[in-house]
């Protein structure tokens, strides 16, 4: 079976001794090869426990864990962990080892030869953007928080594990550095295609990092697991809705691009054409603003009927100048932002040479949102229909 999940949790349960309520209850979940699955939920929901069950830092009380089809519920946990990268919020670099030695920890345990280890250390330092010659022989205390977490990631990647577990890896880092580390990590992941389980309590981080997101409730029960787009478009219940919070619609617009829209016709007038023709179009379309283009079809000005009729100066000096312009690869979120800055409320779409392609208006966006919701709902209805 080629689409066998990389990690398969089968009714995994954790009950702590002396407690009657399970911390994790009958959790079944598949994580595909090469995806980032984000576990997100309110504090105390058991998301970290769930993560630590996967590399058996916490031993499950019931259920089975499979790696690439192999049941690892009962293998030696130390050997299992050497096959899994593990990154924690506090990083936990070894202060008495050099940065190079830190990164070499797992390869050394696996008995790699010296030359291979040295080459791997330098490769990883390069990969996380720290000059090997400069950093290899230094000690962790000389690193900033952001650099230390880069080394934490490099160390987890040491022996090139197929699976990485990351427990709020960027949680303790200032927002600006965090954003940069997230972007770097996504870029790295696009190359490496590791199977990653990522825990966070921050829904925005989950949306940014996740190929899929699992929203967990009490006892690590999955409330919804899906792509960020679909979760934002269609939270299945109040719990999920509350958790993703206000602004979910806006966040959802980050996933859609202008190129996916059918750009509607809009009244335009090219310089040198008969202004009367423009006014006629304005009337036909029952619009307020006429878009003036230059001879190369680059947008010039917004004109009202009065601006056209008044005469006097050249057309390109009348009306209002254009503030909102986006290219087709812009997200709808950015497009909305542009639109809000434009007094006409209309955003011009231009190609990469600046030529007019069409316009986006607010009702185009509401239409997209409506469509996304309908699609997501259809998906869930279909899911329900097949499960019944």
């Amino acid at each position: 079976m080629s689409d066998r999940p990389m990690i398969h949790l089968d009714r995994v349960t954790k009950v702590y001794p002396g407690s009657t309520v399970p911390a994790v209850e009958q959790l079944t979940m598949d994580i595909s090869q090469g995806e980032i699955l984000v576990l997100v939920g309110p504090s105390g929901c058991g998301k970290s426990t769930t993560l630590r069950l996967i590399n058996r830092m916490i031993e499950p009380s019931g259920g089975h864990i499979y790696f690439d089809g192999e049941d690892v519920t009962d293998v030696d946990p130390d050997l299992l962990r050497r096959r899994i990268g593990y990154v924690i919020q506090q990083i936990g670099l070894f202060p008495h080892h050099t940065i190079g030695e830190n990164i070499a920890t797992v390869p050394k345990m696996l008995g790699w030869d010296k030359k291979r280890i040295t080459a791997r250390v330098d490769e990883l330092l390069d990969m996380v953007g720290l000059e090997p010659g400069q950093y290899r022989d230094r000690y962790p205390r000389e690193l900033s928080g952001g650099q230390a977490q880069r080394i934490g990631v490099a160390r987890a990647l040491g022996a090139d594990p197929a699976v990485m577990l990351m427990d709020e890896p960027f949680g303790a880092i200032d927002p600006i550095t965090r954003d940069r580390l997230q972007n770097e990590f996504l870029r790295l992941q696009a190359e490496l295609k590791k199977t990653i389980v990522f825990v966070t309590h921050d829904i925005d981080e989950a949306i940014k990092m996740g190929d899929r997101i699992a929203i967990l409730g009490d006892r690590s029960v999955i409330r919804q697991i899906d792509t960020p787009e679909r979760i934002l478009a269609y939270p299945v219940d109040d719990f999920v809705d509350d958790f993703i919070g206000s602004g979910s619609t806006l966040k959802g617009l980050n996933f859609e691009r202008v190129s996916s829209l059918d750009l509607s016709d809009y009244p335009t007038l090219v310089e040198g054409e008969d202004p009367q023709r423009g006014l006629q179009m304005l009337d036909d379309a029952n619009r307020e603003w006429l878009l003036l283009l230059d001879r190369e079809h680059k947008p010039l000005r917004w004109l009202r009927r009065a601006d056209v009729e008044r005469g006097g100066r050249e057309l390109r000096q009348r009306g209002q100048h254009i503030r909102a312009e986006v290219e087709p690869n812009a997200t709808l979120h950015d497009t909305l932002e542009e639109m809000l800055n434009e007094s006409t409320g209309i955003c011009c779409v231009i190609d990469n040479r600046g030529r007019y392609q069409g316009v986006v208006e607010i009702n185009d966006l509401t239409e997209v949102i409506r469509k996304l919701r309908a699609e997501a709902k259809e998906h869930y209805d279909a899911l329900e229909a097949t499960s019944v």
């Binding site: 590399n55 830092m57 946990p77 130390d78 050997l79 299992l80 962990r81 050497r82 096959r83 593990y86 924690i88 506090q90 990083i91 936990g92 670099l93 070894f94 202060p95 008495h96 080892h97 050099t98 920890t105 797992v106 345990m109 000690y139 962790p140 205390r141 934490g152 160390r155």
Partner: protein
């Protein structure tokens, strides 16, 4: 001035005896401290994660320190006779607590995140101890060793009372002949050379500490 001059001439006249006693004294201290380090560190590792045992052992090691030294030295005579052996045993008991306590504290203070990441990378308990926890606790343990060595250098002067050797012989000899020529000088020789030996040993151990700790741990 006269006193100082006669002291120096005393030292000069008996230089060979003084040197020999100092070396004997140093040997006594080193035997005790090395043995105490080996035993205390092993014991410390064993008790660190066993709360009941740990409290019991630390209390007992503390009680040893409160036993009057004169009595403790004498207590071992029936067991091992007179000479250096009872002295070594008594000094050994005194030197346990600082090393033991610092071993436990040093291991305690290793950040849980570091142990978690060691475990998360697949180190077994022994590897976690040998490669991570002990090296990180080592500077703290060595600080305990230095305290013990200073403690033992001073108390070792009493070894002479149970037939042991060392610089205590100058102090005892001086005291028994108090009033006679050279008696005060003799007491001072014992005292001064014990203090000097203490300083030298402390410097030696601080150098050992520096060279056996990772440069990554220097502040």
């Amino acid at each position: 001035m006269d006193g100082l001059q006669s002291w120096f001439s005393y030292v000069f006249d008996r230089w060979d005896d003084i040197l020999e006693a100092t070396l004997q004294h140093a040997r006594l201290v080193l035997i005790v401290v090395v043995a105490a380090t080996v035993i205390s560190v092993s014991l410390g590792i064993y008790i660190e994660r066993r709360p009941t045992l740990r409290n019991a052992v630390l209390s007992i090691a503390g009680i040893f320190l409160t036993i009057p030294s004169l009595a403790l030295f004498a207590l071992f005579i029936p067991l091992v006779g007179i000479g250096n052996p009872p002295a070594i045993m008594a000094l050994f008991l005194y030197s346990l607590l600082p090393i033991l306590r610092n071993t436990v504290t040093g291991l305690d203070e290793v950040s849980p995140a570091i142990v978690e990441s060691a475990r998360g990378m697949g180190m077994n308990r022994r590897q976690q101890l040998v490669r991570v926890r002990l090296p990180l606790a080592w500077p703290v343990i060595m600080a305990g060793v230095r305290v013990s060595s200073l403690l033992v250098v001073g108390i070792a002067a009493i070894a002479v009372l149970v037939g042991g050797d060392g610089l205590g012989s100058f102090i005892q000899g001086g005291l028994t002949r108090l009033g006679l020529p050279g008696s005060v000088e003799s007491v001072w020789v014992g005292t001064v050379f014990i203090v000097l030996l203490g300083l030298v040993l402390d410097i030696v151990f601080s150098v050992v500490q520096r060279f056996t700790s990772s440069p990554g741990l220097r502040i």
